[in-house]
């Protein structure tokens, strides 16, 4: 097991190095240096050239790449053009918000997706099956920023059931432990804060969950259809076990294998969705940071984000592969 992990890690660190070279070259090739971003319209050309020189943009490319690589290893992605603060700190500060939103979205996608997938499998071929699958596919077809905005206009503005913006009501004082507001609220006993955070989470999480929901429904349906046809399910039935036991221990525990893998991979895709959802709800996570960096062409910030996401994505893939052993004894023993 260890040998396999080390091999995978080595292979992927080489790939990441390649990615950093690719990213650096890519951004260097893009026209429009950062100095135009930092100075207001009326700054004179002289000031712009001075800033270019001061930012070390005129040094030979390889020294710049060397310096860039040196800083990356120390997790120093330079400072963001829009806020002037170190990108690493910005990303670290905003990570909890996106993690909390992604977990909430995944909770909804799994909580709804698996039962719906099971229902569609059980009622295979009927209108319920068609309705469930197409309904979940509809979720992915709605552009997520439009879905987020509509949810907000309908449920927050017109009906007023839920708050429209932020992660907490402005000015609420809370004790921060991990940065996950709901979790912090619970462990520190500030249940009003936790509840307030949950209310703020509902709409963005629903919008974001539209992407993974469809995938989970479809994978669950296919997986359950597969498992239900297996002999051991009939053996369980032949034992006269209670339906709940047959469904739980025999059908679902086997059906969960492919579903668990997908959930791991879907976490990665949530980040892309977060960019379009967080800005609509001013959620202040990494998503809105990237949205701002994109609209303001803050290249250093984007480079930092891409590297972090690449590492995050690669680590998740590795974890999913390793966790497969935990879930499926057949894999564990052989490796």
């Amino acid at each position: 097991m260890l040998r396999y992990t080390v091999k995978r890690l080595l292979q992927l660190s080489v790939a990441l190095l390649g990615l950093s070279l690719l990213l650096f070259a890519w951004f260097k090739a893009l026209p429009g240096g950062p100095e135009n971003r930092l100075l207001p319209e009326n700054a004179t050309d002289r000031q712009r050239e001075a800033l270019r020189a001061a930012l070390g943009l005129d040094e030979p490319v390889w020294t710049q790449y060397g310096e860039f690589l040196g800083r990356i290893v120390r997790l120093d992605f330079g400072s963001s053009l829009s806020s002037g603060r170190p990108i690493a700190t910005e990303l670290a500060e905003r990570l909890p918000a996106t993690v909390e939103l992604s977990l909430a979205a995944m909770l909804i996608a799994v909580g709804l997706g698996i039962p719906l997938g099971y229902l569609a499998a059980k009622r295979r071929g009927t209108w319920i099956d068609f309705g469930t699958v197409s309904g979940s596919l509809l979720g992915t077809c709605i552009p997520i920023f439009f879905l987020a905005a509509m949810l907000k206009v309908v449920f927050a503005q017109e009906l007023g059931w839920l708050p429209t913006t932020f992660r907490l009501t402005a000015g609420a004082d809370f004790t921060e432990v991990t940065g996950l507001r709901v979790f912090d609220g619970i462990i520190t006993g500030e249940f009003d804060i936790a509840w307030d955070a949950v209310k703020h989470l509902i709409l963005p999480a629903i919008a974001l969950s539209s992407i993974p929901l469809a995938v989970i429904v479809r994978i669950t349906r296919a997986s359950v259809l597969d498992v239900v046809g297996e002999d051991y399910v009939r053996t369980a039935d032949a034992k006269g076990l209670k339906p709940s036991t047959v469904r739980g221990r025999h059908v679902m525990r086997n059906a969960m294998l492919p579903i668990a893998t997908i959930i791991g991979l879907l976490l990665g895709s949530l980040f892309a969705g977060a960019v379009l959802t967080e800005s609509v709800f001013a959620f202040g996570g990494i998503g809105s940071f990237v949205y701002q960096a994109t609209t303001e062409r803050d290249y250093p910030a984007l480079m930092g984000f891409i590297l972090v996401i690449a590492v995050f994505y690669v680590v998740i893939n590795l974890l999913v592969d390793l966790s497969y052993g935990l879930l499926d004894p057949r894999v564990r023993v052989r490796k």
Binding site: K122, R124, G125, V228, G229, E230, D231, Y232, V233, R234, T235, A236, D237, A238, K239, G240, L241, K242, P243, T245, V246, R247, R249, H250, V251, R253, N254, L257, L327, D328, P329, R330, V333
Partner: protein
């Protein structure tokens, strides 16, 4: 009254009928065989008795878990191959539901009319079943021990280490060495023969009064086959369990069965005590079956006489003898109406055959 009386059992999947009026009985402590080529309805019969067939469109499917209809088709090896050809060919998008009619009286109660919840309480307790393919009949992600204790828990209310101790005894009883260690292992860590023993242990966990074995040895190699049959015979003698043995292998029938029912195209065509059947086979189909087995007592160069045609060229029992198209002794009466089952101890369903006691 035998322990199990099956009367005029009929099973249809949409338009096609798999079992067309089967009747037989299984007395206490006896081994009764159901033998026939693949596709003659013997497995569907066993599943119908156990109530494991998914409800047809006619009746609301109350069973929570889909159990795939499994009538072995073509290659006999995998009992649970694709749904029977007849269903797929029927075209209509039937969800594989089966319409079951007739009676299966078990110790006075007709199992077929029981509500699913009631039937579920008896399955695994009063009557149990062993399946053909040990490789896929055990849950791959749950330890062996748990798959045994869950039956003990359900029907005998045993909990915790009392259940584990009993499970170890059962494994020992079916001849598995070092049972306590095996409890924690997973199915893929055991050989085919071992797994079949585990399945038998599961089946007999609550000392059922009737055990149904659907081709239990077909997926195993010969040496293991003999051990499994020995185990089953031993269980019947010591526990007094009635055993309904479903097989296409006449060697197995000779080795273990007390009485035999020969099935063809969904009906019993001959039923007799085993010795009687081998000595004086009456129905042409039985004769043909026996004719297709190499016999030690016959000279080596004696050619085997296989039955011509295949299971597909058949006519409906309603119009005459279903075996007529393949029968060497076919004559006019064979196709003039439904042939009846005649005879008491040694019965057969052939108008041409001579009377036999």
């Amino acid at each position: 009254m035998a322990l199990l009386e099956v009367e005029d059992l009929r099973v249809a999947f949409g338009a096609s009928t798999a079992v067309d009026g089967v009747s037989f009985s299984v007395p206490e402590g006896k081994v009764v065989g159901l033998v026939g080529e693949s596709g003659c309805g013997k497995s569907v019969t066993s599943l119908a008795i156990m109530g494991l067939l998914p409800k047809g469109r006619g009746r609301k499917a109350r069973q929570p878990v889909l159990a795939a209809a499994s009538e072995p088709v073509g290659s006999g090896l995998k009992a649970t191959a694709a749904a029977p050809q007849s269903i797929a060919a029927s075209g209509g998008r039937s969800r594989g539901g089966a319409d079951v009619n007739g009676r299966a009286v078990f110790d006075g109660t007709d199992l077929l009319s029981l509500a699913p919840a009631a039937m579920r309480r008896r399955r695994g307790k009063d009557l149990a079943m062993v399946f053909q393919d040990p490789l896929s009949s055990l849950n791959p992600v749950v330890p062996i021990g748990r798959q045994i204790t869950e039956v003990l828990e359900r029907h005998r209310g045993l909990k915790g280490d009392k259940a584990s101790k009993e499970a170890a005894n059962l494994l020992d009883r079916v001849g598995i060495p070092d049972p306590t260690r095996r409890l924690k292992e997973y199915p893929h860590q055991l050989s085919g023969g071992m797994r079949q023993r585990v399945l038998i242990a599961i089946a007999v966990a609550c000392a059922p009064r009737l055990l149904i074995a659907d081709e239990p040895t077909t997926a195993l190699d010969v040496t293991i086959q003999a051990q499994i049959l020995e185990l089953l015979k031993d269980l019947v003698e010591t526990e007094g369990t009635a055993l309904l043995m479903i097989t296409h292998d006449l060697g197995v029938v000779a080795g273990i069965c007390d009485e035999v029912n020969v099935l063809y195209s969904g009906r019993v065509v001959e039923s007799a005590p085993v010795r009687e059947l081998f000595a004086r086979p009456t129905h042409p189909y039985t004769i043909g079956l026996l004719g297709s087995i190499p016999r030690l007592d016959l000279p080596i160069h004696e050619p085997l006489t296989p039955i011509r045609g295949s299971i597909a060229d058949v006519i409906r029992w309603h119009d005459g003898c279903a075996f007529a198209p393949r029968c060497d002794r076919v004559a006019a009466p064979c196709v003039e109406g439904e042939p009846a089952l005649v005879g008491a101890v040694h019965a057969h369903r052939c108008v041409m055959a001579e009377e036999v006691a």
